[in-house]
Point group: C2
Chain length 168, copies 2
């Protein structure tokens, strides 16, 4: 599928979206968090076309979120297992799930509940500031150029305006 | 664009992805968090085709994440402003940004830093359990059927196995 590439944009949201590529990829990852490991299981659970699934799994392996490990040799078949990078994506899905529970679920309530085995409670994800642990709200957060912001863009008036405007 | 609809799936991640629709939508929202309000500004900042932008803005308005407010009458022109539902999506983008900073930024570091005006620190987003405030990790979290899980699916063996397998 031809599309604009966001992978070199100086923005981690754009880069992440570029990696995801489309709506199927987060759902393939979701399945991995449900314990799904094998091609046929992914295919069955998602009702996804086999060629699309092949493509998305390859991308997730290439990008290092899943790793292939053979579970049988004749014929050769693989498990797809979450790497550290893949496991760390759980927070993004959890935040997305919470937002959907809150705004898209309607009266019947959340379709799925997260149980936090570590503390023993059913609980949703909350996105907080790593420094003060308070919820991170848009109105109280501004964006600034980071160490990885491209040197050649830093002094451009439109870029400076962009970051100035982000101040709440 | 013809595609599988996830909007009725019993999963808030699928529903959210369905609403986003593609890679442009989160970036349009990102621009709104940078203070962008007007069609031409969105277009300029993102380098997005005008018809694509029209479509994504319409969807975000229809879904209640943005609202249109006229800022001039002849010709009629609108500001696109974040609603509560739209503002609440900030956490998802912040979690995504953190993941990208960690795994996609490379040696040069984060391109953009979040400054939490509320506490005065530069800090990244952290996704925690709302009950115990500890980081919500995949290995310590399991998924359970929630109140909104469809009655007719609850007793299906494959569904029961799915939730049993999600237990870490």
């Amino acid at each position: 599928m031809k599309r604009t590439s966001f992978s070199r944009w100086p923005c981690s949201i754009a880069r992440t979206m570029d990696l995801l590529g489309d709506w199927w990829t987060p759902l393939v990852l979701r399945e991995a968090f449900y314990g799904i490991r094998r091609f046929d299981q992914f295919q069955q659970e998602l009702g996804i076309a086999r060629n699309t699934l092949t493509d998305r799994l390859r991308r997730l392996v290439d990008e290092g979120l899943l790793e292939k490990r053979p579970y049988q040799t004749e014929p050769l078949r693989y498990d797809y297992l979450l790497t550290e990078k893949g496991k760390d994506f759980f927070g993004v899905l959890a935040a997305m799930s919470r937002w959907g529970d809150r705004w898209l679920a309607g009266d019947e309530g959340a379709p799925v509940v997260f149980h936090h085995d570590a503390c023993g409670h059913d609980a949703h994800a909350e996105v907080v500031c790593a420094a003060c642990s308070k919820p991170l709200r848009a109105e109280e957060t501004s964006m600034r150029m980071g160490p990885g912001y491209p040197e050649r863009l830093k002094s451009r008036p439109d870029v400076q305006r962009r970051f100035a405007d982000s101040t709440s």
